[in-house]
């Protein structure tokens, strides 16, 4: 008797992290420079918090004519 074949369970892949020479790439800048992830963690905030804070500050500075 033929055994019922096991249904393949496709493992959900997490999005691949971009790396450059073994380092995690945060972003590729317009001039082609790869901004690499720091080796250290921040103490007083999370990366998400500071990212939002910086965007807010830059928006406000741009709105008030200070680039």
């Amino acid at each position: 008797m033929k055994k019922p074949s096991k249904a393949k369970v496709s493992a959900k892949k997490s999005p691949a992290k971009k790396t450059h020479m073994g380092y995690r790439v945060l972003a590729t800048l317009p001039d082609g420079v790869k901004l690499l992830a720091p080796k250290t963690k921040p103490t007083h905030f999370t990366s998400d918090e500071i990212r939002q804070t910086i965007r807010r500050v830059l928006r406000e500075r741009a709105a008030s004519g200070r680039s």
Partner: protein, 209 residues
């Protein structure tokens, strides 16, 4: 672990006092903006780890080094010179000289305040790449960025003058970033600062749609 030749970690050996901070921040900015990873003895706050062991570990992990020996001067009471920076430069050069294959790929740039001043007190390093920053962050950025561009063999890295200009804008915005984060600038740790600078560079150069 990256291969020796592709290691992009840069050990920053410099004073950590308030007076030196603009130059320290400038070095971190130039390193990140040039596509490298800054490392410092300040990065780990593990009281259980011997400071010398911690410095040796970081030096061992970094292919590149930026050493500022400009503050070997008499200070305090009694007035004595500060030898931490020359000691760490010696460790770095020793690792390169006597270390294994990976350590032999090390390269460093040495900064002094004035040209040729080092010859009066540490003449044995005459063969090294010693540059003068004259106490100005713009000079340090220009010379460090030029050197990093050579080390990374990356012609797309912007020139030092452009990075110095970007750094000036960053220092204008930093007090506001700290205020929004309810932090005083002097409360920032090395980890905080590196995170702020890398996120600032990303947000400034890649605006949101």
């Amino acid at each position: 672990m990256p291969k020796a030749a592709s290691n992009r970690e840069v050990f920053i050996n410099c004073p950590f006092d308030d007076q030196y901070k603009p130059l320290f921040y400038a070095a971190i900015f130039a390193i990140l903006r040039s596509g490298f990873v800054p490392r410092s003895a300040l990065e780990e706050d593990n009281a259980g780890q011997n400071r010398f062991d911690k410095i040796c570990k970081i030096i061992g992990e970094c292919r590149l080094g930026v050493h500022d020996i400009s503050r070997v001067e008499l200070s305090g009471n009694p007035r004595l010179p500060r030898f931490n920076m020359p000691l760490e430069l010696g460790l770095f050069l020793g690792a390169c000289k006597f270390g294994g294959k990976k350590q032999k790929t090390k390269s460093c740039i040495v900064f002094e305040r004035k040209e040729h001043l080092f010859r009066q007190y540490i003449s044995d390093i005459s063969g090294q790449d010693v540059k003068a920053h004259r106490g100005r962050h713009s000079e340090l950025i220009k010379k460090l960025a030029t050197w990093l561009r050579t080390q990374g063999r990356a012609p797309d890295v912007p020139g030092g003058a452009a990075i110095a200009n970007e750094y000036s804008r960053f220092t204008d915005a930093l007090p506001e970033i700290c205020q929004e984060s309810r932090l005083r600038p002097d409360e920032l740790t090395f980890g905080d600062l590196v995170e702020i600078i890398s996120n600032y560079i990303r947000a400034r150069l890649i605006p949101l749609p």
